[in-house]
Each structure stands twice: as C-alpha cells, then as structure tokens.
Subunit: 367 residues, 2 copies
C-alpha cells in the first residue's frame, strides 16, 4: 500500500532527538563527505570532495553538452544565449577554493532537523577552472534597476511540497566579483556529472548552496528572488516560520586528521606512544585569513603551527607535534580568523541544522 | 570523560531493529554509494563508484609510490620484491568489472547488524587496467604445497578487538585465473587514493572484499589463512559464533534508475503521465550472464528489454517502456541469471548483513 503522497501532502518535519531515521540514512548513502584522513591532501582528490545533491544528478551526455545553452535574460540590455564553446572562449583562470555544505554538522545538533545527517565531513578543496561570471553578465548588460540575479540549474524536484528547479540568487555587485566563477573543470578535468557537468558556478567563501550546479539560466530581477532554496531554506532560524537570516559566507572552522589507527565501528583512535604529528585544516569564509589554530589535549590548549597559505579561498594546513604517553585523551581543535571570529565550543542551535562550527572533538587511546 | 576503550574491551555488537545509531551514520558519512540515477552510466563516473573503507585511506605520496614494493613470499621458489615499474612492465589489459559490497543492503535487514548501513547503492562499474596476478605469481613460483595465497594491504586498524592489516586469501587456482588482476588504473586514470593507490587487486565476479586495496604483500601459505577479514567476517551466518559459509561471488541482483523527479526527504518519485522509459542494471557473480529481468508495476510483472552485454563481468543494462497514467504505483525489479538463480522477494536473513539481494522497490506517484 503506497504511503502518503509527499507531493500533494508534504511532510511537516520537526526537529528530533535520538537515533536516526531511515530517510536520513538514505540521504547519507547518496550524499558523501570527505573521509577525515583525506584532509592530509592540500587539494581533495576527485571523488572525495563532499557532495550534496538536492534532487537527481542530471544525465547529461556529451551531445547534450554540445547543445548546452546558458541563457541570460530579464533586466538586461541584450538577452544572450551562450554555448559552452562561447563561454570557454572567454578569459579563464583557476582558483583553489574550499567549499563546505551549510548543513555540515546538522547531525550533531540536539535536536536536529531530519535531513542529510552530516557530522563533520561535508567539506572539500578543489581547483576550479572557468571564467568570471561578470564576463558573461557584461555580454548581456545587466540593467541598473536589477536588484538580484537568479541562477538556475536543470535539476528539479520537490522539497516540503515546493516544486522547483534548484535556484539561488546573488546581488549584482556580488555576482560581478572577480572571483565568482562559471566553471567547466575541477582539478584539471572536465566536471564530473555529480559536480555539475557541464557548467556550474563557484562562489568562493560562501557555503556551497550558492555554487549552483548544472547551470543553464540567469535572470536579472526587479525584485528579490523568492525561490524555495533562497527563502524557504538556507536561513539561520531557531523557530519555525521565522524569517531568519540568509546564509552566506562560511563560518570559521577547523578539523583534524585523527591520529593513529581506527576502530571500525566506534571510530575511536589508537595511537602508539611517542612523537605524533597531528595535522589539520582550518578555513573561514569571505577570504578572511586564518589567524591561529589551537588544539586541546586533555584540557590544555596549545598553539598549532600554520602551514603556508594556498590562496585566499583555500583552507590553511596546520600541525601540532605531540609527545604521546599511554592513556586516554580527549582532543579538540579551534580556529580563529583575522577578523577575530573564533569557533564556539558548541555551535548556537539552528533549527535547519545550518552553520554548525562547534569544535571537532575526538577520543584517542595511547598505548 | 572518555568512554570504554574499544581496543582493549571490544564492543559486543548484536543485531538491532528500528532507528539507526550515530556510529552507523558516521560510517555512512565516510563511505559512499552510487546515487541510483547514476546507474544510467555504463561505466560509473569516477567518484560515484561505491567505497567501503575499513580503516583509514593511507596517505601515499608520489614518492611513496616510487618506492612501493609488492613482496611475494612464503611457499615460493624465489621470493620477489617488485616495484610498480616492474609490475607495469608486465603484459597489461583492461577489464570492465561491476563490484558490489557484500554488505550492500545491510540496512534493509530486520534485524540488522550495526555497521555500515548500506541500503542499495554499494555498487559500481569501472574499467580497471593492470596485469593478471598470475604474471607476478609466476615470477615467484608458487610451490605445489601452497593451499592459499594471502593478500595484504597497508591499511591497518581494529574490528571487534582484532588488530590487523586488511588481508584476504584466495586458493592458488583462483589466484591464477586469467582475470584476477593487479591494477594501477581505473577508468583510464591512476588509481585514486581511496580506490587503492598505487596498487590493488580486482577479483571479478566476487563481492568487493576480495579486491584488496593498497596491496603490498602476498604470502603463499601451507594452511588456510586465518585473518580476521577472512574468517572473522565475510561469512553468511544466521547465529553468533557459527562457522558460516565464506562469501565469494555476487548474488544475482538488479536495480532501477528511479523514474521522474524526487522528493528531497522521502525519496518518493513524481512522474508525469505519458510514455516513460525505466532504465536499470542487473548483474550476477562469477561471470554468469543475466538471462532476463522483470519489472513489477502495480502487482503485474513485465519482461524488460536487455541492452547489449558489455563483457563477462559488467552489469547488463535493461529498460522497460511504460505508459504512465495518474495514480500511485509500487514498482520492483527482479533479475534471473543463466544458471537459473532469481532474486528473492526478500533476502534470507544474514546476521552480518551480507548478500542482501532482495528486490529493489520504489514508490512512484504519477500526475
């Protein structure tokens, strides 16, 4: 017997506590995060970058890509329709960018919204090759009365009864930032289907929801975009039906490569006594440099050494040399950016599960 | 306060029912399956192939790969130590192979063992390039009294208190099968770190546990290998402490690309009325061809059309043209192989959650 039709009678999801629902596990089977030990890599190997796919990955063949068009319309001087070849002929550059899903850490909130139950791994760093979006906008000529540009993918579906193609908007001045990109390559290879082939946006410094995949349409609007992914979700809220605060740049955050070797099920770590180097990464949005990273071992905070920066939008490597002696240890790390933002011990509650930059804590046993 | 030390006091995990534990969700954040719509691709795009990583992905640099050795010892005429260059100089070939995790579907068993809670997606198909393992074995000369060859990766950790490097064994006649391979490339690219860089095995037709990653050692043994991954797990068992049946070849199975568009949280599908082509894949282990695939819509079974085969170890594409009319539908698919094996409606219970080839069922709403 079929269940309630979620398209005509959308579920009323409310925050929950305790064990995880099968729907959450289904989303965790589909979407994937980085295995934390892979934070050792400056650039995340292909396939280990986190993926959050709202609907289905569109099936786009090479023939589909050959006839792909990006349409720019609305409040423009000249509506344009560009092929991938047209776009690739524009001046190009490559940027190293760390992207994090705004919902990273959702599964760690108590209570948590039933959705993709990210714990820590929804982050990755890639080298993206493309052209600044403004090169395309300039071809169309955005009229001065445009207040937002909405950017649309071809991926389509429902969320809480709202039927839509994935879409997000940017203000014209943001869309014209020199590092907001239209990209066709990732780590030197054509985009993978699941990363937006053949064309996507990259909005460096912002959480990943702004970097629209499978992009085929941009509209210059006379009033703010009201799409579900812009106003229905991706806001910081503590109450249902609250207007909330739009989510934009990534909060300061750090993660560790857990030292030693794991226990399969518990994830606890066993370390051999002696000198141990603990590696990690730290980042903050809006091109704010990391100022320092601290690591707490057994209640004592230590300053970690920062590795050389790798560009304004890439995470910063850090390391700490530890002399491990037998026993059990609680560890945590904490980053502070140049604007003085520090990670909180526990993130402020968010109803949708967004922006959780509470400390990464691990348990280590030394023998 | 640290919890119980799982290295000295291993957990006694027992099968459970109901919602999922945080440890299961943690494993589902790390390991990933294919998004089912990606079954449209004959060869799974890089990064969408399923991944089951028992311990940590080893951090292997290019310099580490340059000094990598594969040691072959034990009951051999001449112990050998081979570099990657030595191995790549042997005759090579490329095979298209479908691999499935033996634990695929674990999360669908009731009760289920708490572990990686796979639902459906732990499968993928890749083009693997390497040399038959026997070319290396022949360099060493396996003595006739060797009864098994144990194959070891460098990945290390604990499972239920057993400390070990990942290892599996094969009988000499199986290890010498012309299609059991040592591979260094996947889909025409060097192996990704998470897929076993710089060297791994591929045992076509078998569940994935046999295809040891990060391979650096092979031992010819006078008695059967007793490693944890060989005898402690990867057996079909219904009771604790039962000896069980070793898991080898993949059971016959089929999956659908869910038609239409999804609802984000429930995963239910909305289809527009009219002609709809339903695509899917079917496979069976040990190079057994698929004989036929059926699809059930609203209680009626139909025969699907098979696409051309793509080699003895690759899944078989299938499709069914459906005239969708408004309403709600339960769908399921079922494959039968040339040996007469058919998927069961529900898989026989397995305590460890292995070999679940029960039907893939979906719910579709047509408007």
């Amino acid at each position: 017997m079929p269940s309630r039709n979620p398209f005509t009678e959308p579920e009323q999801r409310e925050p929950i506590e305790g064990d995880f629902f099968a729907q959450e596990v289904n989303l965790a089977n589909r979407n994937h995060g980085i295995a934390l030990e892979m934070l050792r890599h400056d650039v995340t190997p292909i396939g280990m970058h986190y993926l959050l796919i709202h609907f289905d990955v569109p099936y786009v063949t090479e023939a589909d890509a050959a006839s792909w068009r990006l349409e720019v319309g609305g409040l423009v001087e000249r509506p344009v329709s560009l092929s991938l070849e047209d776009i690739k002929a524009l001046p190009s550059k490559t940027l190293r960018v760390t992207l994090e899903c705004a919902g990273n850490g959702r599964g760690r909130f108590k209570p948590r919204m039933p959705s993709m139950p990210w714990l820590l791994g929804a982050v990755g760093t890639a080298e993206w090759t493309g052209t600044p979006l403004r090169n395309v906008l300039d071809l169309a000529g955005i009229k001065p009365d445009a207040v937002e540009l909405s950017c649309h993918g071809i991926d389509r579906g429902f969320d809480r009864g709202n039927e839509h193609e994935y879409g997000r908007s940017l203000r014209p001045e943001m869309a014209r930032h020199e590092d907001v990109m239209l990209v066709w390559a990732m780590n030197g290879q054509p985009l993978l289907p699941q990363h937006g082939y053949p064309l996507r946006m990259i909005v460096p410094g912002w959480y990943g929801m702004a970097s629209v995949k499978w992009l085929n349409r941009i509209e210059a609007l006379a009033s703010p975009y009201q799409g579900y992914q812009q106003v229905g979700t991706y806001h910081f809220r503590t109450q249902a039906n609250e207007r909330g605060t739009p989510i934009t740049t990534m909060r300061v955050k750090s993660l560790m490569v857990p030292p030693g070797v794991p226990d399969w099920y518990s994830g606890a770590r066993l370390v051999e006594a002696g000198p141990v180097t603990i590696h990690g990464r730290a980042w903050s949005g809006a091109a704010t440099p990391i100022d320092h990273v601290e690591i707490c071992i057994d209640g004592v905070w230590h300053r970690a050494a920062l590795e050389a920066p790798a560009g304004p939008y890439a995470w910063r490597g850090w390391r700490f040399d530890w002399e491990a002696t037998p026993g059990s240890y609680a560890m945590a790390c904490r980053a502070t950016d140049a604007a003085g933002n520090t990670q909180p011990l526990e993130a402020a509650y968010d109803r949708g599960g967004f922006g959780n930059n509470g400390l990464h804590r691990i348990e280590v046993f030394v023998r």
